[in-house]
Subunit: 309 residues, 2 copies
C-alpha cells in the first residue's frame, strides 16, 4: 500500500486525489491522508465506482502550508497529512509515501520520523534524466541540499550507486561530478575537493562531466550539490518546454529521497493528476525493486504494469 498526502501541493486535494484514482485503477493499493470528507466528495464526483478499487482514507485534519518553516511545522502539526502519511510507513502500514507538499517539511518529516541511514549527513533527492536510446542518467542532489560539503557529495555517490542497482540494473555505475569543464582541476572549490575524495574511493568515478556531454551517456550517475543540480535540471526542463513544447519534466513526476529508512517520493508542488499517478507508480516500483532485491518479492504486483500506461 502506498501512502499519499492528499493535502500537499498547489493543486491539492483535487489533482492529488484524481492522480491516486488513476493509479488505483492500475491495481495499486493506496491510502490517502487528509480531510476525509473532501477526499470522498472528490472521489464520488469523479468515479462513482471508486470503492471497487483499493483506496482507503485516513483522516488528517492539519495541513502544512507551502511556505511554513519545515522543522517547526513538522514538530507542531502532528496531525498533518504529511506527518501521518510518513508515520504509516514507519509503522509499516504503508510501504512508501508520496507528497507534492512543502518539500522542506516533507524531507524534514521523513528524516525525523523514518530516520537517516547512519552513514549519511544529508538526505539528497535523486531524479532520472532520460537521454537518447531510452538510456537513463541518475542525477542527485537535485534540490534538497543547496550548501554541501565535499564529503556529502561522496555520500550521495554511494547512495546513488546502491539505487542504480535497482533502477538501472547496474552493479558498478559510472559516476561523474557535474562541473564547468571535464578536465581534472575544473570546478569550484566544492567540486575540486569532492573530485579528490571520489578519486580515492572505490567507486567507478569517471571524473567531471560538463553539460555539453550530458546527452552523450558518459556517466550513469551525475553528482552535484542541490543548488547546481537544481539549476541544471530546471534548465533542461525549461529548454525542453521552450524549444520543443515537449513534456520533458524530470522532477515533476516524482523524485526519490535517498538515505532515509523508507521509500519517500517528493513531487513538484504544481503536480497534476498525471504527475501524481506517475509518482505513485515510481513509489510502487521502488517497493517492488527493493523487495525483489532483498528477497521479499510480492508476486501479486506485476512489475511490467507501467508498460501499459
Amino acid at each position: 500500500m502506498i501512502a499519499v498526502d492528499a493535502m500537499g501541493g498547489d493543486n491539492a486535494p483535487e489533482q492529488i486525489v484524481l492522480g491516486s484514482l488513476l493509479a488505483s485503477r492500475l491495481g495499486i493499493s493506496i491510502k490517502l491522508f487528509g480531510c476525509k470528507e473532501t477526499i470522498i466528495s472528490i472521489l464520488d464526483k469523479n468515479d462513482f465506482k471508486w470503492k471497487k478499487y483499493d483506496i482507503s482514507i485516513l483522516d488528517a485534519d492539519q495541513i502544512i502550508g507551502m511556505a511554513e518553516e519545515p522543522v517547526n511545522a513538522v514538530r507542531k502539526k502532528i496531525n498533518s497529512s504529511i506527518v501521518k502519511a510518513i508515520q504509516s510507513v514507519k509503522q509499516k502500514k504503508c510501504k512508501a509515501v508520496v507528497s507534492a507538499g512543502n518539500t522542506g517539511a516533507f524531507m524534514a518529516a521523513a528524516s525525523l520520523i523514518l530516520g537517516k541511514k547512519p552513514e549519511i549527513n544529508r538526505v539528497p533527492i535523486i531524479g532520472v534524466l532520460p537521454i537518447k536510446d531510452k538510456k537513463k542518467v541518475l542525477c542527485l542532489d537535485i534540490g534538497a541540499n543547496v550548501d554541501c560539503k565535499p564529503e556529502y557529495l561522496v555520500q550521495f555517490a554511494y547512495l546513488a550507486k546502491e539505487h542504480a542497482r535497482n533502477v538501472l540494473n547496474l552493479d558498478n555505475p559510472r559516476i561523474a561530478l557535474l562541473s564547468n569543464g571535464h578536465e581534472e582541476g575544473k570546478g569550484n572549490m566544492l567540486v575540486k575537493k569532492a573530485y579528490e575524495l571520489l578519486k580515492k574511493s572505490d567507486l567507478n568515478f569517471v571524473g567531471n562531466i560538463e553539460p555539453y556531454s550530458i546527452f552523450n551517456y558518459y556517466a550513469d550517475i551525475i553528482v552535484s550539490d542541490g543548488f547546481s543540480g537544481n539549476i541544471f535540471l530546471k534548465t533542461i526542463e525549461a529548454c525542453a518546454q521552450n524549444f520543443i513544447t515537449q513534456n520533458y519534466e524530470i522532477g515533476k513526476d516524482g523524485a526519490l529521497l535517498l538515505g532515509v529508512k523508507g521509500i519517500v517520493v517528493a513531487v513538484h508542488g504544481n503536480a497534476n493528476a498525471q504527475a501524481i499517478k506517475n509518482a505513485i507508480i515510481l513509489a510502487r516500483n521502488t517497493v517492488v525493486y527493493e523487495e525483489n532485491f532483498y528477497g521479499v518479492c510480492e508476486k501479486s504486483i506485476d512489475r511490467t504494469i507501467t508498460k501499459d500506461i
Copy 2:
C-alpha cells in the same frame, strides 16, 4: 582596429585566420598576432586578394597552450600572441582584442596588462542569451570566477547595468539572481547573502529567477557565480543541440570580459571561423557603442553592418 590572437584555440591558427578574413571582408580593420609566416600562408591559400582588405600581421613567436597555468604563462611568455595582442590595446594601437585561447591566461593577461576597474574585485564574463521575440538577456558571470563572494555578485550587477546601456539600450535594466526558486529565501548561502545586498542597493533588483522562467523575460540581466552561470548556459546549449539540432550557442560566438580597462572578447576554445568572425563583430560593435556613448563616434564604421551578415 581589432587585435586578434591568431594562435589561441583548438582550431588555431587556420580557423582564426579564416574568421578574421571573413570579418575583414565586412570592412573591419584587423591586426593578427602570431606566427607571421603561417598566417600569410593561410591567407594566401584562402584568398589571394587578401591584401586588399585591412589586415595586418604582428609576429609573435610564443604560444600559451590551453593547459598552461595562466598567471605564470602570461608573466613568462611576453612574446606570446595573447600578451602582444592585449598590449596593442593598452598602447591604443588596437581598440579591442579577441582570443579563443586559454581563457584563464587571456583573462589574467587582460587584468594584468589593461588593469581592472578600481571598484571591482573580479573580472566576470558576460554572455547574451537570446530568448523569444528577439529579446536578449545578459548573463554573468558565465565562467570566469567559479568561487564568488556575495559582494562580487553585486559588482557584477553594476558592471552589467553599465553594459546593458550599450547592448540593450536600457538605462535601468531589471536585475535578477539565478536561483533554485523565485521566492526570497531560496538559494544557497552565496545567493541569500547577495540577495540582501542587492535589495539594499540602488539597482533595479527584481529578486531571484529560476531556470523555468528564463525564457519569460522577467529580467534583463541574470547574475550568478561563474560556476552556476557556466552550468546554466552550457546546459541551455546542450539542450538546444540535443532537442532541435539548432545552432544556439551563447558563449561560442564570443563573450565580453567586464571590469577591465579595455574591450576584451573571449571566444570558446573550439571556435570555428564563423564564431571568430562573430566575436570580431561583437568586439567592433562594442567599440562603436562605447565610442558613441562617450562621444567619440567613429563615423567611418557603419553600425548597421551586422544586419547584412
